[in-house]
């Protein structure tokens, strides 16, 4: 199958849906194609909606500059503030637009957005207790504006024409048909690399992230020669043990729930997820005071009913069933928590494909948005807002370029690579290869990061290339999983090399190196970008942190580095 489109959006989750809608609205007489490996009706992290926006910068509650400051601190200073500011200045308009599409946000009795405080300093959380219909609303909009949608097609590689983007290739995961798409601009919105580490349960798909997101976007961008940024800044989250989903302190916090140790004492001042917070969480887990819990059993019965109504209908609704199976209730029991497997995701941390304030990558015509793009702590509203920003820029870009040419050599090479597992059905099955690869990721890359351990891990990931070449698939579905193993391996190699190369510790637990336990601002106050060289190797570039547009005060600087509550206040604050 061959398709020609003006703009191609890969991934119809949060960022991709909005990117496609906004691009099509801006050029109704041109084709905008939305490609999705699942089905846009229920694809992506918001398959069951979301219980709140984590980072809405709303007038009257916070200024864009406040938000830029907060995220600069939460990300240890390594940010592109212009891009953060662009987000912060556009996020309120995005909320209003979503509101006009029918998304239900929590409002006060006077009709204002009902903002809650979860971050260390500012008030950015906007609850969506009825957020379960998000995908329905986005799909309706996609249909109305006339975006062309192709479901169950997985993109595997991008096509280049003399250094600029020319389209993408992939295959239909039900029929196995190879697909070639020509496009003047491509917006990557493939979500996180959620299948990097193996969850402690050992279940391949029991990940924190939606497991369709296997690092596809990271890998495709890498092979196209785009720069990726701060890959060593892993995503590690505090989650319900075994269930491996959020507990979720952002919902419970405004109602009075909080994180405690086994003695029932609070040990962190704020439940906002950051590397520094995860470090304190990790320390508490491994101290005599672990495990760590989310505590709600001191709350009134009706408050708990309200929390249950939200947590058991949106985001990860099956957590209600999980607790019930074990005979646990928020009324009587605290929720046991643990730390997740590692992943790559700028939505929660900072590892992603490098983009500027327009969503442009370093490859002309290639854009990225959402969890896979480099804007730190961008979350759901960041995915929506940067989806829109990418679309706005891409619509102007395509007017300035001619039709790209499709190079038959690239197409044939990819057709051979992708379809090979079908021609060797007795090759290694995908689940065994993936299990082993991800177990090695756990064994060798999980922080605390040790140099020798990571070097051994890297050897394994390189050796795994041979296993990937010998994978077999007996049907197009298994072929999808086999090709995802390639994405996972690429991400594992990037994660190992990037972690080895940054010889300092930064971002709390996310990049905690045993041999280099402190931050080295003289050498490493930089973005560490990596890219593929023409001969297929990986090279690193230090990108200086651009001068701040929002300066930090001395007092600000300390706020995220002192998250632990000291002993004396523990006693007074303990509930």
């Amino acid at each position: 199958m061959e398709i020609i489109t003006e703009i191609l959006v890969i991934g119809g989750g949060s960022a991709g849906s909005v990117a496609a809608i906004k691009a099509k609205e801006a050029m109704p007489d041109r084709t905008v194609l939305l490609l999705e490996k699942a089905n846009i009706r229920r694809s992506g992290a918001i398959t069951m909606g979301m219980d709140g926006l984590n980072n809405a910068v709303m007038p009257g509650h916070a200024e864009p500059e406040d938000y830029v400051k907060e995220i600069t601190l939460a990300n240890d200073g390594i940010v592109n503030q212009r891009a953060l500011l662009r987000y912060a200045q556009n996020s309120a308009a995005m909320v209003s637009e979503l509101d006009s599409w029918g998304v239900k946000f929590q409002k006060t009795s006077t009709g204002e957005f009902d903002m809650k405080k979860v971050h260390h300093n500012g008030r950015y959380v906007l609850p969506m207790p009825e957020g379960y219909d998000l995908k329905k609303i986005l799909c309706r909009k996609i249909r109305r504006v006339g975006v062309r949608v192709e479901n169950r097609i997985m993109a595997t590689r991008l096509i280049l024409d003399a250094g600029r983007i020319a389209g993408a290739m992939g295959f239909n995961t039900r029929t196995g048909e190879f697909v070639i798409i020509r496009a003047k601009a491509v917006i990557l919105a493939c979500g996180a690399c959620g299948r990097l580490g193996l969850p402690a349960s050992g279940y391949l798909y029991g990940t924190y992230e939606m497991p369709t997101n296997a690092g596809d976007g990271y890998s495709m961008a890498f092979h196209a020669g785009a720069e990726l940024s701060n890959i060593e800044c892993f995503q590690i989250n505090p989650l319900i043990k075994d269930y491996n989903g959020p507990a979720c302190a952002y919902v419970a916090g405004p109602f009075g729930g909080h994180t405690v140790n086994a003695q029932g004492h609070r040990f962190i001042q704020c439940d906002y997820w950051s590397g520094q917070m995860m470090m304190e969480f990790y320390r508490e887990l491994h101290s005599g005071k672990g495990p760590v819990y989310l505590k709600m059993n001191h709350l009134a019965d009706e408050t708990i009913s309200e929390i249950e109504r939200i947590m058991h209908t949106t985001e990860r609704p099956s957590r209600g069933l999980f607790h019930a199976n074990r005979g646990k209730s928020y009324r009587h029991d605290m929720v046991e928590m643990h730390i997740s497997e590692i992943g790559l995701c700028s939505g929660h941390s900072a590892s992603g494909v490098w983009i500027n304030e327009n969503g442009e990558t370093t490859v002309p015509g290639l854009y990225a948005a959402g969890d896979m793009a480099s804007i730190p702590h961008n979350y759901l509203l960041g995915a929506f807002t940067f989806g829109k920003i990418c679309a706005q820029h891409a619509v102007e870009y395509v007017k300035t370029v001619s039709e790209p040419k499709i190079d038959p050599a690239q197409v044939e090479a990819e057709r051979d690579r992708v379809l090979r597992p079908l021609s060797q059905p007795d090759g290694y099955p995908h689940h065994q290869v993936e299990y082993k690869l991800r177990r090695m990721v756990n064994d060798y890359l999980q922080p605390p990061k040790l140099t020798t351990r990571m070097e051994i891990g890297l050897e394994h990931f390189i050796r795994a290339k041979a296993d990937l070449d010998q994978m077999g698939a007996r049907n197009p579905h298994d072929l999808m999983r086999a090709m995802e193993a390639h994405f996972i391996r690429d991400c594992a190699e990037m994660a190992a090399r990037a972690s080895l190369n940054r010889t300092e510790s930064r971002w709390g637990l996310y990049h905690y190196r045993v041999e280099y336990p402190v931050s080295d601002n003289a050498n490493w106050f930089v973005h560490q970008n990596l890219r593929r060289t023409p001969d297929g190797n990986m090279e690193f570039i230090k990108r200086p942190v651009a001068p701040y547009v929002v300066p930090l005060e001395k007092d600000d600087r300390e706020s995220y580095s002192r998250l632990r509550i000291d002993e004396s206040s523990t006693i007074t604050q303990a509930v």
């Binding site: 699942a38 009706r41 694809s43 279940y203 798909y205 990860r316 609704p317 099956s318």
Partner: protein
């Protein structure tokens, strides 16, 4: 390669007496494409142990025929 057959406890259960013949809703909404239609009965079943226990198959089923259990390994 020799084949082994193993028995798995699968998280998604479709009540065959309630499932509507010819309906494909759960198969289409599953992000992981883990469900399939049995060509003989034209009813849905879980064909692959690839589940995020996310529940669209259960919530969108027009016949209330689908139950999502927590996968055994993490239950």
């Amino acid at each position: 390669m020799p084949q082994a057959t193993q028995h798995f406890d699968l998280p998604v259960v479709v009540d065959q007496s309630k499932c509507i013949e010819g309906c494909r809703v759960c198969v289409e909404v599953c992000p992981l494409d883990a469900l399939a239609i049995n060509p003989d009965t034209r009813k849905a079943y879980m064909a692959r142990d690839e589940c995020w226990y996310c529940t669209p198959c259960q919530v969108d089923c027009p016949a209330n025929a689908v139950t999502v259990n927590i996968p055994y390994l993490l239950r």
